[in-house]
Symmetry: C3
Subunit: 269 residues, 3 copies
């Protein structure tokens, strides 16, 4: 049976608002006006504008490290001002506020979400809702009230869980044949993160693994980038247990001229 | 009669210091050394270097969403180290520390400010004042002491309110003829914010409004960017009640090759 | 005799992680999960990737302004995943966690550090250590436990202080002949910071000081950038008491086409 959510005053913000305009600060003002004890953590505000895929990865790779009771406010929202719905989703230990646009897809795929409600009750939002800044007018006040103990079920009707698509290709067993995947994220260092996943954190026979992208071949996994020399691409299992391709002290994305969506294949030879 | 300011431990920082150099962190260290209970919010540190206009907009569009008792520390300060004055201005519910360089101009225009003092008393600043980092040596310690309850009148002499210039052109009534305005801010998404203001948040007969900039014409207002298709510029009333021109999921500033200062005209046809 | 370190719940973070990927947010989640009362300050996350020199300057120029009891977590760590050691160093009033890669060199040169321990005890880190994200798996949990009062001596063996190299060239006395130095940091404004140091904050006979870099000559020091006109380079003693070369309201690094490592000479004429 699912447990009730117990807030801990922690609110983590994930947006594409950047640091320049005061959007994020304004949201914090609204939150602290409602819950002066809120502790607000910036997860990221540098998601590229409208890049839902990138936000989905950042959220999925980070949320589990926050204490139980944390509320995540996720606003990458190209549909702001339309009829798109806003969801409040309850995970095992956390709450997630996000537009209904796929931002939670990796959580759905992992079975992390237990219930979803639509944010519809106008009682918990600001009296006047702009058509361009729901972060200030809807997300911030709702998050603040949830952090004070508001029952998520009061926000609106229960929503049927979106269908889980297969997002990852497992690398955990010795496999034969060729597996096909793709780059799903490029981090600040230019490392290329793929959707191949080593659930246990390790890959059997990793020395025999051959990885190909853009006509380049990488043979075997290393334990850390420091093992690399020159500007040669390396592969390893990253801190989120995904196959990652990088170059020591350099940007693999820049040197290999590639990015999100690029096809990657792996094969044990 | 004006009310005394009652601090709430909240201090919001607005600077052009960027995130790279440790200037902001140093200021926070100074503040927390004086008031360990201070809660510090970053409003923005990515104001372009020396861009007082941009800071004036960000402050004006954000401050009202912070709880009563918040102190704003605003440091875009090309005159640092000269005789330029530093002001402590009291608004309806907030305090503002800023150089005397126009940063508060929209607050002045709106009649928000009630009193202004000069920050002159050396008792409340650091013992040694550098000529390049008043954020650390003057603004941070003064803000921290104000957040502990220091009476702003102790900072220095009362200053006569600067004359309010007309900063906005109202769009609230059905008007005839052509109105002339300009772009005053470009946000992170490349949206172009003008100084046309819809005080009520709406514009009568908005379908008949024609907007022109750089030889382009936009007919009528939309409710949200999501209504746009292709790379066509749209206009709407933004979350600060200003006329804003943007392009759905794209940078209007980039596509229209324009920015702050560009002339914009509106006309009801 | 050295004093025991008394934490104050303040943890300052200095990394090259940037704001985009969620690395910093994840670390904060880990810290707050262990010490819910921790107050976390971002010193900088925009250190250029793997730029240990830049981080060393930012840390050295900032740390003294934080309250006694602050713990600095410094992660510019190209050797992550190798056998490189992680240090916990005790200063006069602060603790510093950093890889053994020179990040603390200016603190060592100034005699700030009193003791150093190796972070080796697996009891205080996360149960599973990734090879790429020690910020999350080692630094964050260790910092959180230190902030709760963990004795640094329990982290591992005492380490012999690294030898102090001479990092600065003093400018405090009237000197004859030519002194040779270099640019050690370029700040967000494009100001060029050298390793010439005016320990007292002032330079005797500063009008007779001639500074040369890239074939340009600057005669005498000014008190603030505002004294400059045109795009002429100026020199002053900056807020960290170092000789700094800048251009009023412009980037000296951009205009003079120079950066870290460039030779600078000074001479009294």
């Amino acid at each position: 049976m699912e447990k009730a959510f117990r807030p801990n005053n922690l609110i983590a913000l994930l947006t594409d608002f950047g640091g320049r305009d005061g959007f994020v600060g304004t949201m914090k003002g609204v939150i602290l006006g409602i819950n002066p004890r809120a502790r607000i953590v910036d997860l990221s505000h540098e998601i590229p504008p409208q890049d839902i895929e990138a936000a989905a990865y950042v959220l999925w790779s980070s949320f589990a490290y926050f204490p139980a009771g944390t509320i995540f406010v996720c606003i990458i929202d190209p549909g702001v001002g339309t009829g798109r719905r806003v969801f409040c989703a309850q995970g095992e230990k956390h709450l997630f506020l996000a537009p209904d646009n796929g931002l939670l897809k990796y959580l759905v795929a992992d079975g992390e979400l237990q219930r979803i409600w639509e944010v519809a009750n106008s009682k918990y939002v600001r009296p006047r809702i702009s058509s361009t800044f729901h972060g200030r007018d809807i997300f911030a006040p709702v998050a603040a009230r949830l952090s004070l103990g508001l029952d998520p079920a009061k926000l609106g009707a229960s929503v049927i869980m979106p269908p889980a698509r297969k997002e990852f290709t497992p690398l955990d067993r010795w496999q034969s044949g060729r597996l096909s995947g793709r780059i799903i994220y490029v981090d600040r260092f230019g490392n290329l993160i793929t959707n191949f996943r080593a659930y246990s954190g390790e890959v059997a026979n990793s020395r025999k693994l051959h990885i190909r992208l853009r006509g380049r071949e990488i043979r075997g996994l290393v334990a850390s980038y420091a093992e690399g020399g020159g500007k040669k691409p390396l592969a390893l299992i990253n801190s989120a247990n995904l196959l990652e391709i990088g170059i020591r002290n350099a940007s693999a994305a820049g040197i290999l001229k590639t990015g999100v969506g690029e096809k990657v294949t792996v094969e044990w030879l």
